[in-house]
Amino acid sequence: MRKLRMTLNGRPVELDVDESRYLSEVLRGELGLHGTKIGCNEAECGICTVLVNGTPVSSCVYPAFKAHGAVVETIESLSANGELHPLQQAFLDQGAVQCGICTPGMIMTAKALIDDKGASLTEDDIKTALKDTYCRCTGYASIVRAILQAARGEVRVDSDSTTATSPVGRPLPNPNARAKIDGSARFTDDYTFAGMLYARTKRAGVPHARILSIDTAAARGLPGVHAVLTHEDVPGHNRHGLVIDDWPVLCDDKVRYAGDAVAIVAADSEEIAAAAVELVEVDYEELPVVDDALAAAESGAPLVHEDRNDGNLLKHIQVDKGDIDAGFAAADAIVDRTYRTQSAEHLFLEPECSIGVPAGYDPVEFGGEVDAAAVRGEYARHDKTTIYVGSQIPYQDRNQAAAALGVEPDSVRVVATLTGGGFGGKEDITGQIHVALLAEKTGRPVKMLYSRQESLLVHPKRHPTVIRVRIGARSNGALTAVQATLYGDAGAYASLSEKVLTRATTHAAGPYESPNVKVDCFAMYTNNAPSGAFRGFGVTQSCFAVESTMDILAGQLDIDPVELRHANALDVGRTTSTGQELRESAGLRECIDKVDSDMRGTGFRWHWEEGNSRFAWGTAVAYKNTGLGGGAPDKASAEVEVWRGDETRVEVRISSAEMGQNLPGVLAAGAAQELDVAVGNVRVLLGDTDYCPDGGPTTASRQSFVSGNAVRLAAKEAAADEADHVLVRYDYEAPRTLPLGEGGDMHFAFSFAAQAALVEVDMKTGEVHVRKIIAAHDIGRALNPLTLRGQVEGGIVMALGYTLTENYIQELGKPWTRLMARYKMPSITHAPEIVSHVVEHAVSTGPFGAKGAGELPSIPTSAAIANAIHRATGVRVHSLPVDQDELLRACTSGADRVELGWGDLEPIPHVSLGGET
């Protein structure tokens, strides 16, 4: 301990600090300034940025005593006098805040820039200064707009979020954004409880092995350790899983991937817990590893789950329409190509964190006070096992934790905290059950925060796939047949693989009407990290394959690729691959027309050269279902409570997740519209399973539609009742759907998209830069144009990363991508200009006509970029992500395709149509 002196946020501070602490730890820990967030502890992501003597530094690797005697500024300094700094106001106005975990670091980095350059700063200055401050949600465009607005002292009108009484369709800021820009918003790691312990997990470290013994004696003997648990200590069901319960809470017989949990520890400090984990001795008999989907399908492959009947086959998914052979016989041209897509990481900037609080917990016992704010004000109490977590499916967390604890679901409460990005990666269980077990075992609150490196190792990724697509068409461009075979690597556990790959399968023929379609998809278990939900949900992969193939077909038929797509596009009256006739709300052709006419503006050329660069446009289209579909009941229940008086107040309660997509704003707007009150008078309480009815999973682009309807209809009922105090609960069920294979309505709505990408290929290096994206999305109705723009820009940039830089690499089941430094998500320097057109073909069953928008923008981007690369260079991309080394080699050698993506060592394997027999 030594005295650390600094001037912090304008005031001198002096405190005794352990000399080994980093500045971020002192700010968040000793000083309680939790506005400074931690994303990686590698000085990579920049979200921990604070200013030291006016200069941005990454506080996570900045020793506290480096700041001795310095002037330190954190996000908390900006609105200290109660007034927002112009940057904060601009971030609100421009919708530059989504999940909010990067916002404090982003604003502090920008503040230093504005202090330095003032009103003269340019977009280039912003790109230079923010190069290493990452955001996973916004795609950066709104951040650039916000910084320019603040630097120029502009004031944006129509951003009053409180008084609007007809808020639907207006660009209002996210009601949570205010707390996110001043550092007061609390994510799970920002909560502490008196007497709280810290937990860590013993990971398998090997991808496939039989457990011979687990010895916890040394770990239990370490002073400061309160509990060490193994599978023997799980009182209830030692498995979890959203579809199939095959994932051990704590491994018993085997470990099936390197991130498997074998033991968990709770201790007085993180350091002690980490040391204890090292002392847990596990004796393994290592087993052969199967590490790709095609190998897993071979007979004699090592079995991941020996108790299953179908070897490593998790599911064979099929689409069958018409007569595929007749379709190809009628074709004048046939294109047949095979593609490979990589495993990808969500890289939400908030690593997973869960806190378990035992039933009957009384903070006073541990020298604390009842922290009302921490447990949602008037609802403060812990009379049952409580889990604080920022996950996407609060009720499923509750049910799965209860099963593991061996209690009724009602005996567990999940309090959904803010989610620092999800994108599908926070649907499965990570630490939720573990903290509940440890809390009940120790009688104390227990926090389990994953390091970035652990997060990379553990949670499900995007499915790697190999996809063969064969398309036949007549010489006029009319499709006659589409056949595809997909192999999807599901990893070690089922997670949502069946659902994800079903979506990949049903969307594999693209948003087109083809009379004959046959698709076979094999979801295979392997010893890789599990694959699960990720924005786009399987459609991202099959869209890349089918839309690349459509471009080749257009070339072969000598038809303009836009025209070819337009001619075959799904439309009202046309029928999907699964036999669903579209009766309304199919605006794909308008999307195509909007993008096409914008792209072909003044001086349009498909491609040109400038110096060492080649420029070209590429296009692609996509569609995506809204909601669960496939016969799954899709329900949401909501409560709306109204207190009428001089000023009417409304509370909306529903268990759904806010990840930055502005669900509270969308729900509040719907309620305010129906009740004819100011939107600022509507409070939305999300995701406390004891107080909020189940809104269902925050997945499948379904919340605006399903929960939106539940809230709107509850509010409508409340509006009809004129009493001073009204409480309405509405149980909404979306229109019924049918399972795959039965024809009819498999989904109750589809959203449609068209995108055009302008790329620049540097012929000296093979580097690909995306310069512009023109997009049009038919989302039924833009409930909040500001929010929608954020979803579009963020989705596109996320997809750009998937296309050009991102690859979660595993070698024989062992991840090489163990550090954030080994996974390049797009920075602000990669962000292109994005022009977003909104197409509104309302769906009659949607709230105010709306359908889903969350996933769609990230689906067609990869193919649009790949098609542009082909037009620029003549080289067809068959493997993602596009590797500049391989691309340059193909360009110089005259090859017409690249089959190795970054990180690939083997060529794309052969896939038989219909699968191996």
Binding site: A43, A64, H68, A258, K764, L804, K824, R889, G903
Partner: protein, 303 residues
């Protein structure tokens, strides 16, 4: 190999911020190998978190030493103290004009937050085969001052490398106190270029620096070329430099020198960085480019 799921939490007990060199040496001597010098720490501390360094009892932060946080000009040298950050170098008008190669190379290191804290001395002491700042300083003919209990002495930068991440400097007992180079003057110019592959690892595929001097007849009177990573330590392309000296500053000469440089090194494929062919191609493309840029600067009388 077992995958380590969590980064190590190993820490030091004391963090010293001496304000004089004597004080820093005194602490290091007292700890007798149990204390380690740290500059900005942007590499060292990340690696320490990962458990890649032997734990020490104390860190001795040399960025608070008075007088060593500045860039100065003395006796025909530009002198850079060990507390000077990359950002300071990038903004320094003397270096921008008379050591552009160094300003360019420090300008591509990491991102702003790293450049604001990381130091050139730290980059050099880390002795990576392709530390950009090191490559830039090497092209300029830089020297480093090493101070220990026996005093201070200057040595040429290229004599400090011992292997990847290994330096002549004993980071438990010695401080790299200052760095210096002779600024480019009339008829001299320098330039740097680096190629990254944005996919995957955040490390350069090739980083190259050059310094050339032209005489009145437009002939090259002196040349230095540095490159990395082309081997275990930063590489000074002496055969290529010899090809250039005495010849004209023309594209064909630059291409010839480039081929000689390529013959003298063994570029390697690294699985997740680049193929050998790609590296070669990048050298062929960009080494002539920067030689031309440096020569143009020399002609303009700038650096």
């Amino acid at each position: 190999m077992t995958i380590v799921a969590q980064v190590s939490v190993q820490r030091w007990q004391h963090y010293y911020t001496p304000t004089t060199v004597a004080e820093a040496i005194e602490i290091l001597t007292r700890y007798d190998g149990e204390a380690r010098v740290v500059g900005g720490g942007t590499d060292l501390l990340v690696e320490t978190r990962r458990g890649l360094h032997k734990p020490v009892s104390a860190m001795v932060d040399v960025t608070h030493i008075e007088g060593l946080g500045e860039i100065s000009i003395e006796d025909d040298y530009i002198i850079i103290g060990c507390g000077v950050t990359h950002s300071q170098i990038v903004r320094n008008e003397h270096i921008l004009k008379r050591g552009s190669c160094l300003a360019e190379s420090c300008g591509v290191i990491g991102g702003p937050q790293v450049r604001n804290v990381g130091t050139l001395a730290g980059n050099v002491a880390h002795a990576l085969p392709a530390g950009d700042g090191t490559i830039g300083l090497l092209a300029l003919g830089g020297e480093i001052e090493v101070t220990d209990i026996d005093g201070a002495r200057w040595l040429p930068l290229q004599e400090s490398f011992r292997g990847p991440g290994k330096s002549f400097i004993d980071r438990y007992r010695q401080v790299l106190t200052r760095l210096r180079f002779r600024p480019t003057g009339a008829g001299e110019g320098s330039a740097h270029h680096r190629v990254m592959r944005p996919q995957g690892l955040c490390l350069p595929i090739i980083s190259m620096g050059v310094r050339v001097a032209l005489d009145a007849e437009n002939l090259i009177s002196d040349a230095r070329i540095s490159m990395g990573p082309v081997g275990p330590v930063p590489y000074l392309a002496e055969p290529a430099m010899q090809v250039l000296v005495g010849g004209p500053a023309t594209a064909s000469q630059f291409a010839k020198a480039t081929e000689v440089a390529l013959q003298d090194v063994e570029l390697r494929a690294s699985k997740y960085r680049a193929t050998r062919e790609y590296r070669e191609q990048m050298v062929r493309t960009f080494l002539p480019d920067i030689l031309k840029r440096a020569a143009n600067r020399a002609r303009r009388g700038l650096s």
